[in-house]
């Protein structure tokens, strides 16, 4: 069995919430040794946010936190004490990669700037994920995901034009765009260090990282002065292109049985796909020559969507998907978390979800890898780290402290 890709790489993870921890977890599941640094007074906010396993409470059982912190060691350090800062710098000496998404102000207060780190470890790769950058007039503006998303423009552009700009219903940039941009930069820097021996500082402004992924709309304004508006589920170069209602089903919920409206998506990018869809609809009378061209379908898109919706309404979305995909028309189930965890046969066969036994949370699911390396696949070995769980192990094996020194740190509430 090949070594994992990042075996031998040490990561000091001073990040919190999602954008940093997810990037660090991807390193941890590919073999890096990751030490997650928190403290009782400055613990990851996600520890206090649900969902929690039914009937369980405490800092170590949040599903939100746990999903991003498998395979990590946890060290609690009080960075407001000089001795805590000293231990942090000791950890930096050990680290190949340092990562944080803490604000520039706090970075400076805690003495964790690139210059501070470089003094400890010349070739360190130091990763900062500020909201908007370490300079500029909005440097100290605040923005967790919920506020960052709107600032990046994705809320203005997503959804139906008659609704408020509600966005994606999640702190979307936190989960893929920012952590995977970050990981790409880290890996490029590790490659460069391998060739030259040089480390470097990486700054990922979360605003810049996300706007980079909304390019066409911004470029359209800069090139043509056009301010794109919310267009619902439509695209200029496809029709139909949207979500259509399917049969309502009965589902079990924690509050008893309930109705669930099901949905499918259908998209035609060519006249050929439309003709195939028309055939699947049974060549109805309404589907006349007006709909033969993209321009015609765009002109009558309201009617087109209403008619397609009448056809899907009595059906199960799984049947619509299978029927249309077999015929050559893009279609899919709008899946929810139950579909993905319990029912999607493709996800099951590919074994995407990982299940780990956690001392307090029990056996729970973790998102699997977002990319698969054929010879050095991700491994989910240990469940999410609990607060301070590895203090002694990290102090002894990584910071090389004696039992007496560790005891002092505990008594002085440095390991806290």
């Amino acid at each position: 069995m090949a070594k994992q890709a990042l075996e031998g790489i040490n990561v000091a993870d001073f990040s919190w919430f999602a954008a940093g921890p997810i990037a660090a977890q991807a390193m941890a599941t590919h073999g890096a040794t990751v030490v997650r640094v928190e403290s009782e007074s400055h613990m990851d906010g996600l520890r206090g946010v649900g969902p929690f396993p039914t009937g369980k409470t405490g800092h170590n059982v949040s599903g939100y936190y746990n999903n991003y912190n498998a395979n990590k060691l946890n060290l609690t350090l009080n960075l407001n004490l000089d001795k805590g800062k000293e231990m942090a710098l000791r950890l930096i000496k050990w680290a190949d990669v340092f990562i944080t998404n803490i604000t520039p102000r706090v970075i400076e207060r805690w003495g964790l700037t690139y210059d501070d780190l470089k003094a400890q470890r010349e070739d360190i790769i130091a990763v900062y994920q500020p909201m908007q950058g370490f300079d500029g007039p909005h440097r100290d503006f605040l923005g967790f995901g919920a506020v960052l998303g709107p600032i990046t423009g994705i809320n203005h552009l997503t959804g139906f034009p008659n609704r408020a700009p509600a966005g994606l219903g999640t702190n979307y940039p936190d989960y893929v765009v920012n952590p995977m941009h970050t990981l790409t930069a880290v890996m490029a820097a590790l490659h460069y260090r391998h060739l030259t021996g040089k480390g470097q500082r990486i700054e990922l402004s979360q605003l810049e990282s996300v706007v980079a992924s909304l390019a066409p709309a911004v470029m359209d304004y800069m090139a043509n002065g056009r301010i794109a508006e919310r267009a619902g589920n439509r695209l200029p170069h496809a029709a139909p292109h949207g979500a259509f209602p399917c049969q309502t089903i009965k589902v079990a919920t924690p509050f008893g049985e309930a109705d669930e409206q099901r949905w499918c998506v259908i998209a035609c990018f060519s006249d050929e796909q439309w003709q195939t869809l028309k055939g699947a609809l049974g060549n109805p009378d309404w589907a006349d020559a007006r709909f033969d061209t993209l321009a015609g379908r765009k002109d009558h898109e309201d009617e087109l969507e209403a008619k397609v919706g009448e056809w899907t309404l009595p059906q199960f979305p799984e049947d619509v998907m299978e029927k249309l995909q077999a015929a050559g028309v893009p279609a899919a189930v709008v899946q929810n978390s139950r579909d993905l965890l319990d029912d999607d046969p493709h996800i099951k066969e590919r074994g995407y979800y990982q299940y780990l036994d956690h001392a307090e949370a029990g056996r729970t699911a973790y998102d699997g890898p977002g990319f698969r390396l054929s010879k050095t696949p991700a491994e989910y070995r240990t469940p999410a780290c609990m607060l301070g769980e590895h203090n002694q192990q990290v102090c002894k094996d990584i910071l090389d402290l004696s039992s007496e020194e560790i005891a002092d740190l505990m008594v002085e509430q440095v390991l806290f």
Binding site: K3, V49, P51, F52, N66, N67, Y114, G136, H138, F141, L142, G143, F144, A146, V147, P150, I151, G153, T158, A166, G169, Y175, V177, L183, T184, M187, A189, L190, H191, K198, G199, I202, L204, S205, S209, V211, S213, P216, M219, Y221, M222, N224, N233, H237, A243, V265, A267, P330, V334, Q335, R338, P345, E349, R350, T364, G370, F371, R372, S374, K375
Partner: protein, 404 residues
């Protein structure tokens, strides 16, 4: 243009991607890799997707295409033609990485699958970006972006319950798959650095997106509750003053007031007092509720229906006064002056707001290349800066220098 070193200097990439996968190779190219984009004769079909520069369709004017193909060289080959496939094979021994977004099995059918490529270059890294990955019952499904975001679970969460699920703007399925693919590809490159071993990097758009369901997966795993669409409320059970979208006199802002990290609601009240628009919120019962309007209080309301009912009229009134305050001010005023008080308020940026954003301007983020203004770096590397080394290639622009 290139003065300093780039992180991926000397890394050669053969790029068999079109609309779905070309952001992945853009990321590699802007980090310094020599990316050779292989287009079918006539060019990448994405050259026909609008919007266009000056609204004039043309192969070198499609904004999506332009953005996703910076810093690359371009050649044309007809991979259905054996002679052209041979030309492609001749490039493989000098290549480090091949990235493709072709349907599963297509490369193998052309005799250019992973195994075949390793015969031409043993330590080659091959990255495959597809809708559903290379195995499994759905692997051959047609997978435009909307299929990925539907099957990956994020569309279910977007929008108002009264509407159909919303399509996330901007091909987020493609982008997520490409960001995952770039991370996986550079990780495979590092592994090759250390061991001399190449490998296959496989990305499924569906899997690339699934972690972006936020807490929906865990909510079902831990409590069997299916998180649904809640529009502006997000995951909260009721409307909370200061949280979500509010209409300013010229657009929208988004509040997240009272959550950790930002100033407490009392600071927002002070903002409204200073502007003479607090109305009766400094009086009881409003003042008392405002003083405790934090995440703990809200969590209490979420789990206790009785408390919720008790406080609802008070919260509604606070919300109405705040709504009036917002509607009297501009979005930039609320955003910048709110943030100066450390109140968690964001502007709901339009493309115009982004183009004129003073922060992006101060950091000289946008890049002018070949008469087109592009989004700038997603990350800044101090030793090996990101840069657009050249404008996107014209169709077959580098045929002569690459394949002779």
């Amino acid at each position: 243009m290139a003065d300093g070193p780039a992180a991926l200097d000397g890394v050669r990439v053969l790029d068999l991607t079109c609309e779905m996968g070309s952001y992945c190779t853009k990321l590699l190219a802007d980090l310094g890799a020599d990316v050779i984009k292989v287009e079918p004769p006539g060019g990448d079909p994405a050259r026909n997707i609008g919007p266009f520069v000056a609204d004039q369709p043309g192969p070198d004017a499609a904004l999506t295409f332009l953005n996703q193909n910076t810093s690359k060289r371009g050649i044309t080959l007809d991979l259905d033609d054996e002679a052209d496939r041979d030309k492609f094979r001749k490039l493989v021994p000098d290549a480090d990485i091949v990235v493709a977004d072709l349907p599963p099995g297509r490369l193998s059918a052309l005799g250019l699958g992973y195994e075949a490529l390793t015969k031409l270059r043993e330590d080659i890294i091959v990255t495959s970006i597809t809708g559903f990955g290379l195995t499994g019952p759905h692997k051959d499904y047609l997978a435009p972006d909307i299929v990925g975001v539907a099957m990956g679970g994020i569309m279910w969460l977007a929008g108002d319950l009264e509407d159909p699920p919303n399509l996330p703007f901007g091909h987020q399925g493609y982008f997520s798959a490409c960001a995952q693919a770039a991370a996986g590809t550079t990780m495979a490159l590092y592994h090759r650095d250390m061991t001399g071993e190449g490998q296959l990097v496989e990305v499924s758009m569906q899997e690339a997106l699934m972690i972006a369901q936020e807490t929906a997966m865990q909510a079902y795993d831990l409590t069997k509750a299916v998180r649904g669409r809640a529009g502006a409320r997000g995951a909260l059970p009721i409307s909370i003053p200061g949280i979500g979208p509010y209409e300013a006199n010229d657009g929208w802002i988004w509040g997240y007031v009272g959550t950790p990290g930002g100033a407490p609601w009392s600071e927002l009240l002070q903002f409204m007092v200073d502007e003479g628009m607090a109305e009766d919120l400094t009086e009881e019962p409003y003042k008392d509720v405002i003083d405790q309007l934090n995440l703990r209080f809200l969590t209490g309301l979420a789990i206790n229906a009785e408390e919720r009912e008790k406080h609802t009229p008070t919260l509604q009134h606070i919300n109405e006064v705040f709504t009036r305050f917002c509607s009297a001010k501009s979005k930039w005023d609320l955003y910048e002056n709110g943030q100066k008080r450390r109140i968690l308020i964001g502007i709901v940026s339009t493309p115009e707001d982004l183009a004129k954003n003073p922060q992006l301007e101060a950091r000289a983020w946008y890049q002018d290349v070949g008469g087109v203004r592009y989004p700038g770096p997603p990350y800044r590397l101090s030793e090996t800066p990101w840069q657009i080394e050249r404008p996107p290639p014209k169709v077959g622009e580098h045929n002569a220098e690459v394949i002779g």
